[in-house]
C-alpha cells in the first residue's frame, strides 16, 4: 500500500503545487472563474431538477412514475458517460502518459503501477459526474423529504457506480492493448469515436422526438404508461443502482441494503479481476504500445497530381505552414474521433430542422419560421464556437515543444498567427454558411432573413476564429501532453465565455431592428426614421464588436508570444 501511495504522491503534490502563485502571479482570478462557473452550473442544475420534480409531484400517480423513470434514465446516462470517460482516461494514464517509461524503470511491480494509475484515472473520470449528480439527487431528497440516510446511500451508490465503470474500462483497455497490434493503441480512440457517432445517430433516429408535437401519437397513452413501468434487467448494475436510490427515497431499508450490497460487491469483484488481469497483461500491453507506430493508411500518390499544388496561390512561407498544418492534423489519429463527433453534431443539427413539423404548429407559420431562422443565427454560431474551441483554440498549443522552429524561423509571429487564422477560417466560413443556408432553406424563410443570417454569420465567423487564434496564443501551453485539452483550461473557458457574450450581444443588438424590418415587410409599410436610426446604430455596433473580436485577440497573442 505504501508503494501505491508513493506512486500517487507526484500527482497529489503536483495538484497542491498548482495552487501556488505562478511566477508571482496570483491564481485567484482562475479560482474565481472556475468556482463561479461551477456554482452557476450546480445551482442551475438544482433549480431545473427541483422545478421539474415539483411539477411531477403535482400530477397524481403519473408524476411518481415519471420521477422514478427519470432516475433510471439519469443512472443509465451517467453510467454511459462514465464508461466512455474512463476508457479514454485509462488509455491515457495506462499507456500514453510521458512519465510511464520512468515509472516502469522503477523497482515496482507493473500491477502496482496499474493500480495507482487506475486510481488516478478513476478520479479524473468521475469527480465531475459525482459533483454534478449532487444537485440532482438533492432535489429528489428535498421533494421526497428523505432523511440523511438517503444522501449517504446515494453517495455510496454513485461511488460504487464510478468504481464499476472504471474497473470495466480498465479490463476493456487491458484487452484492447493486448489484442491490437503494436503501436495501434490510439486506434481504440478512433473505434470509440465511430461507435459513439453511430450510437448518437441511432438514438436520434429511433426516438423521433418530433412526434411529441403530433397529437395522433398520443392515442396509446396507456401503452406508453405501461412501458414506463416495465422494470429494467435485474442483471445490470444500473438496475441495482437505480433500485438502491429508489428504495432509499421510499424508505425501503431491506431492498436498499440488498441492492447497495449487490452494487458494492460487484465493484469490488471487478476491481479484483482487473488487478488479476493487469498482473499478466498490463506490462506486455505497455511494452507493445511503446514500439514505433506504423502509419494506419499508406500514403496515396497519384502520378502527376499533388494536392499541395492547390495551395500554390499562397506565399511560400504561408504554403509551408499550411501544408504542415494539414498534414499534422490529418495524420494525428487522436483528431479523427473528434471529427466524427463534429460531423454527427452537424448532421443532427440539420436533421432537427428537417423534421420540424412547421405545418402542424397552431402559431402563424411565417412568423415562427422567421423567428426560428433568427434564433438559428445564434445557434449556428454556438455550434461553430464548439467546433472552433475544439480545433482552433488549441492550434497554437499544438505546435508543442516544436514551437522553437517557428520562433527561430525567419517568419514573424504576426504572420504565423494570421496563417493559422486563414487556415481555419476558410473551411469554417464555408461550413457555417452551409449550415445556416441549409437550415434556412428547410425553414422556408423570407429573403430578408436569409440575407441577414448569411451576413451575420459572415461577420461572426472571423470574430470567433480570430478570438480562438488570439486567445489560444495568449494562453498557449506548449508543454501539454494533450494540447487539445487546453480548451478546458482557464484560457479555453475565457474564450467560450467571451464567444457566448459576443454572440448574445450581436443577436440582442439585431433583434429590435430585425423585428421592425420584418413586421414592416409583412404589413407592407416602411420603417420610421427613428427605427432606421436605431437599426443603423445597432447594426453598426454589432459590426464594431465583431471587428474588435477579430483583430484585438490576435494582436494580444502576437504580443504574448513575442515576449516569451
Amino acid at each position: 500500500m505504501n508503494t501505491i501511495l508513493s506512486l500517487l504522491r507526484p500527482r497529489i503534490l503536483s495538484a497542491i503545487n498548482g495552487l501556488r502563485p505562478n511566477n508571482g502571479k496570483s491564481n485567484w482570478p482562475r479560482f474565481f472563474m472556475y468556482g463561479s462557473l461551477g456554482i452557476i452550473f450546480w445551482t442551475g442544475t438544482f433549480i431545473i431538477f427541483y422545478r421539474v420534480l415539483f411539477y411531477f409531484q403535482s400530477v397524481q400517480d403519473f408524476g411518481d412514475i415519471l420521477a422514478m423513470k427519470l432516475i433510471s434514465m439519469l443512472i443509465i446516462t451517467f453510467f454511459t458517460l462514465l464508461l466512455f470517460s474512463n476508457i479514454i482516461n485509462c488509455l491515457s494514464h495506462l499507456y500514453l502518459s510521458q512519465d510511464l517509461p520512468l515509472l516502469h524503470s522503477l523497482p515496482v511491480s507493473s500491477k502496482k503501477i496499474f493500480f495507482s494509475r487506475w486510481i488516478i484515472s478513476t478520479f479524473d473520470s468521475s469527480w465531475m459526474i459525482v459533483a454534478f449528480s449532487f444537485p440532482v439527487f438533492l432535489s429528489y431528497g428535498l421533494i421526497y423529504k428523505a432523511g440523511i440516510i438517503f444522501y449517504v446511500i446515494f453517495l455510496a451508490a454513485i461511488i460504487f457506480m464510478c468504481l464499476i465503470t472504471s474497473a470495466l474500462s480498465g479490463i476493456l483497455v487491458l484487452f484492447g492493448a493486448k489484442i491490437l497490434p503494436a503501436g495501434r493503441i490510439r486506434t481504440i480512440l478512433i473505434i470509440l469515436g465511430v461507435a459513439m457517432t453511430l450510437f448518437l445517430i441511432l438514438v436520434l433516429r429511433f426516438t423521433r422526438p418530433e412526434q411529441l408535437v403530433n397529437p395522433d401519437s398520443f392515442a396509446s397513452v396507456v401503452l406508453y404508461l405501461n412501458s414506463m413501468q416495465t422494470p429494467d434487467s435485474p442483471l445490470l448494475p444500473t438496475t441495482w443502482i437505480t433500485d438502491t436510490i429508489k428504495a432509499a427515497l421510499n424508505g425501503e431499508i431491506k431492498s436498499c441494503l440488498f441492492n447497495i450490497a449487490l452494487t458494492g460487491t460487484c465493484a469490488l469483484m471487478l476491481i479484483f479481476i482487473s488487478n488479476i488481469i493487469a498482473q499478466f497483461a498490463y506490462f506486455n500491453g505497455f511494452s507493445k504500445s511503446q514500439t514505433t507506430p506504423k502509419r494506419l493508411f499508406a500514403p496515396v500518390k497519384y502520378k502527376g497530381y499533388n494536392w499541395e499544388s492547390l495551395l500554390n496561390f499562397l506565399p511560400r512561407e504561408s504554403k509551408a505552414f499550411a501544408v504542415k498544418e494539414i498534414r499534422t492534423f490529418f495524420r494525428d489519429s487522436a483528431q479523427w474521433p473528434q471529427l466524427f463527433l463534429m460531423a454527427a453534431l452537424i448532421a443532427i443539427y440539420i436533421y432537427n430542422f428537417s423534421v420540424l413539423p412547421l405545418d402542424n404548429f397552431p402559431i402563424k407559420a411565417v412568423y415562427l419560421q422567421n423567428l426560428f431562422s433568427f434564433l438559428n443565427i445564434g445557434l449556428a454560431a454556438f455550434v461553430l464556437t464548439a467546433i472552433v474551441a475544439r480545433f482552433v483554440f488549441p492550434a497554437v498549443s499544438m505546435e508543442g515543444e516544436a514551437f522553437w522552429i517557428v520562433q527561430a524561423a525567419p517568419v514573424s509571429i504576426k504572420r504565423f498567427l494570421w496563417i493559422k487564422f486563414f487556415l481555419y477560417y476558410i473551411p469554417l466560413i464555408i461550413l457555417a454558411e452551409v449550415l445556416v443556408v441549409v437550415s434556412n432553406l428547410l425553414l422556408r424563410v423570407s429573403p430578408f432573413m436569409m440575407f441577414l443570417s448569411t451576413i451575420t454569420i459572415f461577420c461572426l465567423v472571423p470574430a470567433i476564429v480570430g478570438m480562438a487564434v488570439g486567445l489560444g496564443a495568449v494562453y498557449a501551453d506548449f508543454k501539454s501532453e494533450n494540447p487539445a485539452q487546453t480548451v478546458t483550461s482557464f484560457g479555453g473557458l475565457l474564450f467560450m465565455i467571451l464567444c457566448f457574450c459576443l454572440i448574445a450581444s450581436v443577436v440582442i443588438l439585431e433583434a429590435g431592428p430585425v423585428y421592425y424590418i420584418f413586421m414592416a415587410d409583412i404589413r407592407a409599410q416602411s420603417i420610421s426614421l427613428l427605427q432606421l436610426i436605431w437599426s443603423v446604430i445597432s447594426f453598426g455596433f454589432a459590426s464594431f464588436l465583431c471587428l474588435l473580436a477579430f483583430f484585438y485577440p490576435i494582436y494580444l497573442g502576437e504580443k504574448k508570444l513575442g515576449i516569451r
Binding site: 495524420r331 522553437w404 520562433q407 527561430a408 524561423a409 525567419p410
Partner: protein, 244 residues
C-alpha cells in the same frame, strides 16, 4: 558577425543572463561552456530570436535582432538542445518545410536535401514519420535542416547529445569545414573535449556572467595553469570566479 552587447535576461525569479557582451568573427568557432544553469541555453535562445532580452542588443551580421528579426534569422541556422520536431511529418517533408521558410531555391532543394540526408545517414528514413526516429536521428535531422539554407551563422546548443561516435566525428568535420568557408559557429556544450578540439575561442559563463574568454592558451593563462586540460581550467575559473 555576432555581437552581444550588455545582454540581460531576467525571468523575474532568476537573472539568467547578466550584462553579457561578446563578439564572434566570421569563420570563427566560438565555444560557450559553463556549469548547469549558468545561462548557456538562455543566451543561445536569445541569439536565435526565440527569447526577447530584458535589455541589451544582439547584432547578427550587422542586423539588430530586435529591429530586424526576420532578416537576422534568415542568416542563422539554429539547432536547439532538445530535438523537438513535428512528429507527424516525414524527414523529407520537414526539410521541405524548412526550405520553404528559409527560401531555399526550388531548383536546388531536391539535390541539397538528398545530399544532406545522405551525409547524415538519413536517406533510408526520408519518407518515414519523424515520430519513428530515434533521438540521435532527430538530432541529425535538425542539424541537416539547419544547414539546408547555407546559413552564414550556425548557433548550436549541445550538438553532440544523443549522437553516436561516428556521427560526432562527422558533425565535427562538417563544422570545421563550414568554418573554413567563413561560416560563424557558436556552440554551447558541456563536453569540454569537443570545445577543446573544435573551438577557436572559448567563453566561460557562470551565473549569467561571462567569467573568462579567449583561446585555450589564454584561458590557461587566466587560470594560472601551465599544461592543463580545459577541464582543470574550467574548474579553476568557476571556483575562483575569475573575471575578465
Amino acid at each position: 558577425m555576432i555581437k552581444l552587447h550588455e545582454l540581460t535576461k531576467d525571468y523575474g525569479t532568476t537573472l539568467a543572463v547578466n550584462k553579457l557582451s561578446l563578439n564572434v568573427a566570421a569563420g570563427e568557432i566560438y565555444g560557450f561552456i559553463g556549469p548547469n544553469g549558468a545561462g548557456k541555453t538562455t543566451t543561445i535562445r536569445l541569439m536565435g530570436g526565440i527569447l526577447a532580452p530584458t535589455s541589451g542588443n544582439i547584432i547578427i551580421g550587422g542586423l539588430d535582432m530586435a529591429q530586424n528579426p526576420v532578416e537576422a534569422k534568415q542568416m542563422i541556422g539554429f539547432v536547439p538542445d532538445r530535438p523537438f520536431l513535428y512528429e507527424k511529418l516525414t524527414g523529407m517533408e520537414f526539410l521541405r518545410f524548412s526550405a520553404d521558410l528559409y527560401n531555399v531555391r526550388h531548383d536546388t532543394f531536391p539535390q541539397k536535401a538528398q545530399q544532406l540526408l545522405q551525409q547524415f545517414a538519413l536517406a533510408d528514413w526520408a519518407d518515414e514519420l519523424i515520430e519513428a526516429y530515434s533521438h540521435g536521428m532527430k538530432q541529425r535531422l535538425i542539424i541537416a535542416s539547419a544547414l539546408l539554407h547555407d546559413p552564414r551563422i550556425l548557433i548550436i546548443d549541445e550538438p553532440m547529445v544523443g549522437l553516436d561516435p561516428a556521427a560526432v566525428r562527422m558533425v565535427k568535420d562538417i563544422l570545421k569545414e563550414l568554418a573554413a568557408h567563413q561560416t560563424t559557429i557558436f556552440i554551447s556544450t558541456h563536453t569540454l573535449s569537443i570545445a577543446e578540439d573544435l573551438c577557436h575561442r572559448i567563453g566561460l559563463i557562470h551565473k549569467g556572467m561571462l567569467l573568462a574568454q579567449g583561446t585555450l592558451d589564454e584561458l590557461k593563462h587566466i587560470a594560472n595553469l601551465g599544461e592543463a586540460r580545459l577541464e582543470e581550467v574550467f574548474l579553476t575559473i568557476i571556483k575562483e570566479n575569475t573575471f575578465i
